[in-house]
Amino acid sequence: NAGVTQTPKFRILKIGQSMTLQCTQDMNHNYMYWYRQDPGMGLKLIYYSVGAGITDKGEVPNGYNVSRSTTEDFPLRLELAAPSQTSVYFCASSYSRKPNTEAFFGQGTRLTVV
């Protein structure tokens, strides 16, 4: 089973460049999330989606945008990359909003902005 797939795994960007981090899941989950993980820190929520066409901001949304045109895909867009966006990005999905629901995470995208 593929689960949650993220691409690319690694990327180096120059300041001011833009890129899209791809995330796709094959579990037919309605709920999808983007987190970032800085060294020595836990994960922080960037954006989330409760279904196709519906997205909302998380704790640290500035500098990012998302879209959810299909249930499977939830891309994260960086428009003007900044060094502060150097981080590891994780996409996750879950099938329910109930508290006892497991979130499945992708393997992450390690992004360096220089």
């Binding site: 949650v4 709920y31 020595g40 836990g42 704790e59 994780f90 909003r97 508290p99 979130a103 995470f105």
Partner: protein, 115 residues
């Protein structure tokens, strides 16, 4: 913003020793999850606790949710080198509505178990 304070940040022990990781907050969480993360991988769920005072066991791992649902602990008995990894607690918080599965993570505990 809800905060989860996780301690200790680093733990280096010998095989066979016991250890406890703590996760504390000033907020009441509707549920709390513990994840384990290996280098280059995403977090993988170990357990979810929902009820205040709840205790769950997973082989040598014991998880407890505080009575007031503001704190949790992970206890590992007789640690093994295979337990080495990053352990994360994550709380789901409802502000009178629904959280949509959004998680607030602690800073993580890097555990190293030496043979």
């Amino acid at each position: 913003t809800q905060l989860l304070e996780q301690s200790p940040q680093f733990l280096s022990i010998q095989e066979g020793e016991n250890l406890t990781v703590y996760c504390n907050s000033s907020s009441v969480f509707s549920s709390l999850q513990w994840y384990r993360q290996e280098p280059g991988e995403g977090p993988v769920l170990l357990v979810t606790v929902v009820t205040g005072g709840e205790v769950k066991k997973l082989k040598r791992l014991t998880f407890q949710f505080g009575d007031a649902r503001k704190d949790s602990s992970l206890h590992i008995t007789a640690a093994q080198p295979g337990d080495t990894g990053l352990y994360l607690c994550a709380g789901e918080w409802n502000a009178g509505g629904t959280s949509y599965g959004k998680l607030t993570f602690g800073q993580g505990t890097i555990l190293t178990v030496h043979p």
